[in-house]
């Protein structure tokens, strides 16, 4: 869930950067820095949602183990 907060924060920052760039009085020095930051955020988000192929972990034994443990304790 911490990840999702990361995505939400990135999206918010991107929207802020866009609003600043779209403002009429653009400072060239800031423009470059902001565009670089926006590109970095977009790259990070994109990399993370495409990073790997699907990873699957299967938990099968849970139920039986719990039962066996319960039996052993008796």
């Amino acid at each position: 869930m911490a990840d999702d907060i990361g995505y939400t924060a990135a999206m918010r920052e991107l929207e802020e950067i866009l609003a600043q760039i779209e403002a009429d009085d653009v400072d060239v020095d800031l423009l470059s820095a902001r565009v670089t930051r926006a590109a970095e955020l977009i790259r990070l988000c994109r990399e993370r949602i495409h990073a790997t192929r699907i990873e699957v972990e299967e938990i099968v034994a849970g139920l039986e183990d719990a039962d066996e443990q319960a039996e052993r304790r008796q």
């Binding site: 869930m1 995505y7 760039i21 653009v26 926006a38 988000c45 790997t52 938990i59």
Partner: protein, 439 residues
């Protein structure tokens, strides 16, 4: 000596007595237990009153039931016709049959001939309504729905029967999306008497492991197979889960209680996975939109700044020329004066003039270099965001003089304007501007 029966005689007497006491077929209701099928097509089970068990779970009364292969065809036909009821352990049924004595085992049993499927369906519906009413009273119906769905649900917990078609369908859909889903699948029984305990335990395992969203999926089945999904304990576990729960329980007609308390209920396991993929895709599309808007805005900003810098460097060049001319004149004047004066004075004055000239040149060089660097930096920004690519896609830039034309008000009829396209510039004269903003 009192009359003494042989075993056979007593057995027959019991049989006759039973036949007299229960001459006709009768209806019995109860819960199926210990169902088994023999190789020659007979079905055996016992019927008990639900929740009548003692501390050890032994029911107070049991009724052995036999469904012979000869009667089974008719019963199966009515089961098939409704499709909603299956005879399995734990299912509450109302059946018709004849009470008989089975001498071979010395037992009294019911020879089943018919089943009332409407009874089971109605009972399930009534139970479902009662459970929903209790959940509503406890404020649990919308509890899970109130949890916000994650914007990018890549950490997915799945509760399903591992190896089932539902399991395969769900994972195939996620894998096909190409997104970096991390899936924790917890195996659970999705039907039969252990289903509720098993499903609740699986959700508890996910709660301990943590996930952004959970999916509870299984394939379709008869309504009685879905009984666990109408269970109140399972419903409470879903309602109070620390993550949003999606259901894909795969059934056509009614929604189960689990569907009702879930955050979102989808028709099938595939639809459930598609919903998750759609959420990630929506995020990616927003990202794409922001990327495009940022590039457009940056190109516009750089363009504007370039125009401003061009003007400034032009002014600087003019100022420098003036500066040099003026100093050139004073150099000339000094030289002339030197010619008229003593050689010593000449030497002193020319030394001072040379120093002055040299300082002026250095200052100018510095000023020009700084401005050059700014222009280089700007060129780098423009290269990074490449307005050429925008032009190549068919966008054009129109200038009046060195000013970008952004709105009709920027030009007047008769103005000469220059339009930059990917292939080169076009010069034209403004006929008229309609002054209306173009949508």
């Amino acid at each position: 000596m009192e009359a003494t029966y042989t075993v056979t005689e007593l057995s027959r007497a019991i049989g006759r007595t039973l036949a007299r006491a229960f001459p006709d077929e009768l209806w019995v209701e109860g819960e199926i237990k210990d169902l088994s099928r023999s190789r020659n097509g007979h079905v055996y089970f016992t019927l008990v009153d639900p929740d009548s068990g003692d501390d050890q779970g032994q029911p107070a009364a049991v009724l052995p039931v036999t469904l012979f292969a000869t009667d089974r065809g008719a019963v199966n036909r009515v089961l098939m016709r409704t499709g909603a009821v299956r005879m399995t352990n734990g299912v509450h049924v109302r059946i018709r049959g004849r009470v008989t004595h089975y001498p071979g085992r010395g037992t009294v049993q019911l020879r089943m001939s018919w089943i009332d499927t409407e009874y089971t369906i109605g009972r399930l519906a009534a139970e479902r309504i009662a459970v929903l009413r209790r959940l509503d009273a406890a404020g649990l119906l919308e509890a899970n729905a109130r949890l916000p769905l994650p914007g990018v649900p890549l950490e997915v917990g799945v509760v399903t029967s591992i190896g089932s078609a539902a399991h395969a369908d769900f994972l195939a859909e996620l894998a096909g999306s190409g997104y970096a889903f991390t899936v924790t699948v917890v195996d659970a029984r999705t039907q039969g008497p252990e289903a509720v305990t098993s499903l609740v335990r699986a959700l508890d395992v996910l709660a301990m492991r943590g996930c952004a969203v959970a999916a509870l999926v299984r394939g379709g089945g008869a309504q009685t197979d879905l009984a666990a999904f109408d269970d109140e304990t399972l419903a409470r576990t879903i309602a109070l889960a620390p993550f949003p729960v999606l259901t894909g329980i795969g059934h056509e007609v009614d929604t189960t209680v689990a569907d009702r308390v879930a955050n979102r209920s989808l028709k099938t396991p595939t639809a459930c996975a598609q919903a998750l993929v759609a959420m990630v895709r929506a995020f990616e599309q927003r990202l794409d939109g922001l990327a495009a808007a940022t590039v457009t805005a940056a190109v516009g900003g750089a363009q504007q700044a370039a125009t401003g810098l061009g003007r400034r460097s032009g002014r600087l060049a003019t100022a420098t020329r003036l500066h040099l001319t003026r100093h050139g004149r004073s150099i000339d004047a000094a030289t002339a004066a030197i010619g008229r004066r003593a050689p010593l004075a000449t030497a002193r004055a020319s030394g001072a003039t040379l120093r002055l000239a040299s300082r002026t040149a250095t200052a100018t060089r510095h000023a020009l270099t700084a401005e050059e660097r700014r222009l280089d930096g700007l060129a780098a920004i423009q290269r990074t965001h490449d307005p050429g690519r925008m032009l190549a896609r068919g966008w054009t830039l129109t200038y009046r003089g060195d000013r970008l034309v952004r709105r009709p008000g920027d030009v007047a009829p008769g103005d000469h304007i220059r339009t930059e396209t990917a292939g080169g510039g076009v010069r034209s004269v403004v006929e008229e501007g309609d002054g209306e903003p173009h949508g």
